[in-house]
Amino acid sequence: MSVQAPPRAVVVRSAGGGFGIRFGVRHAVVVAALLAAALAVGVMSLGTGDFVVPLGDVVGALLGQGDRRTNLVVLDWRLPRVLLALMLGAALGAAGAIFQSITRNPLGSPDVIGFDTGAYTGGLLVIITTGTGYLATASGALLGGFATAVVVYLLAYRRGFHGFRLIIVGIGVAAMLASLNTWLILSAELNVALAAAAWSSGSLNAVGWAQAVPAAAVLLVLWAVAAAMSRRLHLLELGDDAATALGVRTGRTRLVLVVLGVALTATSVAAAGPIAFVALAAPQLARRLSRSAGVTLAGAAAMGALLLTASDYAAQRLFAPTQLPVGVVTVSVGGVYLIWLLITEARRR
């Protein structure tokens, strides 16, 4: 008696043939499961805190049937934070996937190659010179992220694009920017320094709808672009000659992808500061779970959302009532991951 192997890929196609996609079953299941887990953690965090809300009341409030007190706690205080954790996690995961794909290296992540640090420098400069204010800080972070990307890209450019050079140069630039950031905080006025430092390790402790709404608007556009670029990203992985032969304009495509990755990174830095290691770990963890060919944007985004919501939940609960910045949790968990990654990569060579 033979058992038929489960299908590896499923095709969905419209009757006229105008629409058709093909996707790996395992990858789709993993992405759906990760998203469901991230949502579950999110709903759980909506109920936990100094004021405990039972699960039924949380769902009621989300559906618009809560009392005033529950609405205030769940919808006004906690929901923006949970939504930001989901969205920024997905943004960081997708940014990590983009850079790991174009550098063809699991270390090629925006937090390792300095783009987070540079975005933070940009935000810091704005805080110190003009004071806090979300949109101003966000613009500073975007400019800082792009300026860093341009510097790293130019320094790493030699007769074309080389992923490994980019990573090495990026690590150096990141170290220099980190010291610059420390110096900026030390030399700033006390109240400014406190505001900036609270933001320095990546924290969702003080976020509200004022950060969540603009971040959501920007990220929706960026994800739409990312979804459209996804297939070209995977063709670039075959090498520039093969990608060109398959109809991809490699230089232009890579430029769009770098801009997209920097924008995803800077948007999250602007909202919550530089949260490390989500971009580094999410794409590789998702790839191992889904056994996909290389990293995928959807898998990395779903894994990033889960990592950040779970880390933020831990940051709130571990030493409650003391609230840790979520970046402290991701650095601790991510540090272990990075050591493991370096060991396995070293063994492979």
Partner: protein, 278 residues
């Protein structure tokens, strides 16, 4: 346009070939400031199995990369179906002309079927990512290269010969009437080299495709090409039927190798037998 130099053989039947779909017109090719090829013109006869040979660093791979618009000429132009190749949208070129580059990278863990499916990109759109035609083309490409039974296997686990056949399958799935191959037999043992060349000849004869391959081995070139292009120092030295082009005098002049040409005992095509010591 056939560029010849004194002593090279002109071949009569070249003239009555149908107009070339792919041609280089006075192209100058350079990496950074190092010029490899200067003002070179070459027609690829439509429907031919053209093989480009020449000593190392003579510019044959550079020329092939320019014909596939992977390398932009510093001067001159490559013409595809009457228009400058760079005037086409990138995907439009990719529906007419395929390239098997010298080295490609298979993403870690990718299966044969998924890699071959990537060859369909020029025929796909944002919403039409996987059509019935895509499916048929991938199945046909796997069958033609004898890799259908490998479809579910990761490319990393294949032998060199199998892997090269899979890359050929990816280019075949692209379904282009013109197919360029840059040293497709490198890294293969001699049996797999002939297996691949037989595969290419079969594709050429069955599909009416125009094939252009860069090869190192003169005897293989003479066996499989119906149109030979011999290059030296960035210039085309001779073009035409291998039986007439490949003379002892030419081999000695181009490669600096004194030799005798004897007919291949199986095919009758010219076979280079070196006269040693050099």
């Amino acid at each position: 346009m056939t560029r010849t130099r004194a002593g090279a053989t002109m071949v009569a039947n070249d003239a009555d070939a149908s107009p070339a779909r792919l041609a280089a017109e006075h192209v100058t090719l350079a990496y950074e400031r190092r010029t490899i090829v200067e003002r070179l013109s070459l027609d690829i006869p439509t429907g031919s199995f053209t093989v480009v040979v020449g000593p190392n660093a003579c510019g044959k791979s550079t020329l092939l990369r320019a014909l596939a618009r992977v390398l932009a000429p510093a001067a001159g132009r490559v013409v595809l179906d009457g228009r400058t190749i760079t005037d086409y949208p990138a995907k439009e070129v990719a529906r007419r002309l395929g390239l098997l580059p010298q080295s490609s990278i298979a993403p870690e863990g990718i299966t044969v079927a998924d890699l071959v499916a990537r060859g369909r990109h020029p025929h796909q759109g944002l919403f039409r990512q996987w059509s019935v035609a895509d499916e048929a083309a991938v199945a046909a490409a796997l069958a033609a290269t004898n890799t259908a039974e490998l479809a579910g296997r990761p490319v990393d686990e294949l032998s060199g010969g199998q892997r090269q056949r899979v890359w050929v399958a990816m280019v075949l799935a692209q379904e282009t009437p013109l197919l360029l191959l840059d040293e497709p037999t490198t890294f293969l043992d001699i049996a797999h080299q002939y297996e691949l060349l037989e595969l290419l000849r079969g594709l050429h004869r069955a599909g009416g495709r125009t094939l252009v391959a860069v090869l190192h081995d003169l005897n293989q070139a003479a066996r499989y090409a119906d149109h030979l292009v011999v290059m030296r120092d960035g210039e085309v030295v001779a073009t035409g039927d291998p039986g007439e082009v490949l003379t002892a005098e030419l081999v000695e002049r181009v490669f600096g190798l004194p030799c005798t040409i004897v007919p291949d005992p199986h095919t009758g095509t010219p076979m280079v037998v070196p006269r040693l010591p050099v």
